[in-house]
C-alpha cells in the first residue's frame, strides 16, 4: 500500500534520513522504532509533504505521493496523527473531529465514523463542546486519534502517541489502538519510542537509527534480536 524507496531528506545540509526504504502492506500494522533524533518524525512529515526530500520515491496505492500537493495527500486516504498531538486548541472537540472529516471520504462516512469514535473514546462525547486546548494530554491524544479516524483513512500514521503521557494513560492509548485495529483492520504505521509496546502490537517493524534503517523484520524476530533486546528492551 505504502512504498518508500531510497528516501533521503535533510534540514540545511544535515542529513536526517538516508536511503530509507520501508514497505507497508494493506491491512498491516507496521512500527518504526528508534531513539530520539533518528528521523522518525521527519519520515512522517515527508510523507505528509511538510518536508521535501532530496531524493527517493514514495508511492501510495501505486500513486506517486511526492507529485501530490501536501493538502491533497489527506484526500488520498493518508491520515497523519502528529507528534505532540497538535489539536486545534481554539476549536471544540467536535469541531476538531469535523476538521478530521474534511476529506471527501470522511464527509461521506461522518455519521458512522463519529459514532464509532465516540464509542471507542466515550470521554470525547462528554467533552464534545469543550475547547480542545483545555483538555488534558491524554484527552488531546484521543482527539488527535479521533480526528485521524474521522477522515476515513486507508492508512493511519501515528507519531509517538505516548509522548508526554503518564505511563498508565499511554497504556490506555495503546489498548485503544489495538481495539480499533481489531475492529477495523485499518492499515497502521506507528512511530514510537516505547519499543516494547510498539513491537508487541505490530506485524512488522523497522529500527531507525541516525536516519538509516538498521534492522527490519517481523516483530517476533525483532523482539528476539539481541541488539534490540539490549538497546531498547533493557534485557
Amino acid at each position: 500500500m505504502l512504498e518508500i524507496e531510497g528516501l533521503t531528506a535533510a534540514y540545511t545540509h544535515v542529513p536526517v534520513l538516508e536511503n530509507v526504504t520501508i514497505r507497508v502492506g494493506a491491512g498491516q500494522f507496521v512500527s518504526i522504532v528508534g531513539p530520539n533524533g533518528a528521523g522518525k518524525s521527519t519520515l512522517f512529515k515527508t510523507i505528509s509533504g511538510i518536508v521535501t526530500p532530496l531524493s527517493g520515491k514514495i508511492r501510495f496505492e501505486g500513486r506517486d505521493v511526492l507529485a501530490v500537493p501536501p493538502p491533497q495527500r489527506a484526500h488520498m486516504g493518508i491520515a497523519h496523527v502528529p507528534e505532540g498531538r497538535q489539536v486545534f486548541p481554539s476549536l471544540s472537540v467536535m469541531e476538531n473531529l469535523e476538521m478530521g472529516a474534511y476529506t471527501e471520504a470522511g464527509r461521506g462516512d461522518w455519521k458512522e465514523n463519529l459514532e464509532k469514535i465516540l464509542t471507542w473514546m466515550p470521554v470525547l462525547a462528554e467533552r464534545r463542546n469543550q475547547l480542545a486546548g483545555t483538555l488534558s494530554g491524554g484527552e488531546q491524544q484521543m482527539v488527535a486519534i479521533g480526528r485521524g479516524l474521522a477522515s476515513s483513512p486507508k492508512l493511519l500514521m501515528l507519531d509517538e502517541p505516548s509522548m508526554g503521557l503518564a505511563p498508565a494513560i499511554a497504556d490506555f492509548i495503546f489498548d485503544k489502538l489495538a481495539e480499533i485495529r481489531s475492529q477495523t483492520n485499518l492499515t497502521i504505521l506507528l512511530v514510537e519510542q516505547r519499543v516494547a509496546e510498539a513491537l508487541q502490537t505490530a506485524d512488522h517493524a523497522y529500527v531507525l537509527e541516525a536516519g538509516r534503517v538498521v534492522l527490519e523484520g517481523t516483530s517476533e524476530t525483532l523482539q528476539a534480536d539481541d541488539r534490540v533486546r539490549l538497546a531498547y528492551l533493557g534485557m
Binding site: P70, Q72, H75, P82, F88, L91, M99
Partner: protein
C-alpha cells in the same frame, strides 16, 4: 432645567456613540480577521478602507447604482457592494504579496516574518494613499444619502424637555454593520469554510494534515478582512466626506479596537470598536473635539492596564 439639558446631552452622545461605534466595530472586525486571527500585521488596512470608500463612490455614481436604487437607498447598496470588489483586491494582494511574508513560508524567519509584513504593508499603504491622490486629487468626496441630514426625534422623554435626535443615515449604517457582523459571525463559527479558516489559523501544519489548503484559507481570510473593513468605509462615506489620507485616521482606531477586544476574538473586536465609538462621542461632553483621540487612547491605556488580554481575549491560549 440644567439637569434636563445635561441628561439630553448625555443621551445624545450615547446614541451617537452607539451608532458610530457599530461602524467602528465592523471596521475592527475586518482587521481582527487579519491581525487578531492570522497574526498578519497590515498597516494598509486603513487605506484599503479608503479604497472601499472610493469604490462605493464609483459604484454609486458611474456604475449606475444611484439610477437603479435612487439616492436614498443607493449609497448603502454601494457600500455593501464595495465588499465583494475589495474582497477580490485583498485576495489578489495576499496571493501575490502577503503570502510571501506570512503563513507557512515564514515560520522559520526571525519574528515570523512580521518585520517583512510591516515593510510590505507600509509600502502598500503609501502606494494606495498616493495612488488615490494622483487619481482623485485631494478634494473631499462623499456618497451622502439624503438621510444623513434627517433624524428621528425620540421624546420628549421627560416632561416636554428631554428629546433625543437619532440620525437616520447613521442608524441605517449601524444596522447594516450589525447585520454584516452577524453574517460573518455565523460564517466563521458555523460554516465548514469558517471552521477551516480557524483551524488554519490555530495550527497551519495540522490543518494541512487534515487536507485543508491552508494557503487558500489565508487568502480567503485576508480578502474577507479587507472586504469587511471596506464595507465599514462605504458606510462611513454615507455620513462623512473622505479624502486619500482618511485611512490613517482610522487604522489606529482599528488596531486599538482589536487589542481592546482581545486578540483573536471577532466579537471582541466589535465590542472594542463600539467602546471606542462611545468614548469618542462621550468625551465631547467634557473635552474639546480636538481631544477626542487623546481621550480614546487615555481610556485605551487604562483598560489595557487592568485587562491586558482585552475584553474577550484569553490570557493563555495557544498551548
Amino acid at each position: 432645567m440644567t439637569a434636563a439639558i445635561l441628561i439630553e446631552n448625555i443621551l445624545q452622545a450615547l446614541v451617537a456613540g452607539l451608532l458610530i461605534g457599530a461602524i467602528y466595530g465592523l471596521m475592527c472586525v475586518g482587521l481582527a480577521l487579519i491581525f487578531g486571527i492570522m497574526r498578519v500585521i497590515n498597516f494598509a488596512q486603513g487605506d484599503f478602507m479608503m479604497a472601499g470608500m472610493y469604490c462605493a463612490f464609483f459604484i454609486f455614481g458611474p456604475f449606475g447604482i444611484s439610477a437603479l436604487f435612487g439616492n436614498v437607498v443607493g449609497p448603502y447598496v454601494a457600500a455593501i457592494l464595495a465588499g465583494p470588489v475589495l474582497f477580490v483586491a485583498g485576495y489578489l494582494v495576499h496571493l501575490f504579496l502577503v503570502s510571501r511574508v506570512s503563513g507557512t513560508n515564514t515560520a522559520t524567519l526571525e519574528g515570523e516574518g512580521h518585520y517583512a509584513q510591516l515593510i510590505l504593508t507600509l509600502g502598500l499603504a503609501l502606494i494606495l494613499t498616493n495612488g488615490a491622490m494622483i487619481l482623485f486629487g485631494s478634494q473631499p468626496f462623499s456618497v451622502r444619502s439624503p438621510l444623513a441630514i434627517s433624524a428621528w426625534e425620540i421624546g420628549p422623554l421627560w416632561g416636554d424637555r428631554v428629546s433625543v435626535f437619532v440620525n437616520k443615515s447613521r442608524t441605517v449604517s449601524a444596522l447594516i454593520s450589525v447585520a454584516t457582523i452577524a453574517a460573518l459571525g455565523w460564517l466563521v463559527a458555523r460554516s465548514r469554510l469558517g471552521k477551516a479558516l480557524r483551524a488554519s489559523a490555530d495550527n497551519p501544519t495540522a490543518a494541512i494534515y487534515m487536507g485543508i489548503d491552508v494557503d487558500r484559507s489565508h487568502r480567503i481570510a485576508f480578502g474577507l478582512g479587507i472586504a469587511i473593513t471596506a464595507i465599514a468605509g462605504g458606510l462611513l462615506a454615507t455620513n462623512y466626506s473622505f479624502h486619500p489620507y482618511v485611512g490613517l485616521e482610522y487604522v489606529i482606531v482599528m488596531y486599538a479596537g482589536v487589542v481592546l477586544g482581545g486578540m483573536g476574538s471577532i466579537m471582541g473586536a466589535f465590542w472594542g470598536g463600539m467602546t471606542i465609538g462611545l468614548i469618542q462621542q462621550m468625551s465631547t461632553l467634557v473635552l474639546p473635539t480636538q481631544l477626542q483621540n487623546t481621550a480614546i487612547f487615555v481610556i485605551f491605556l487604562v483598560i489595557v492596564f487592568f485587562r491586558p488580554q482585552g475584553f474577550l481575549g484569553r490570557s493563555a491560549e495557544r498551548t
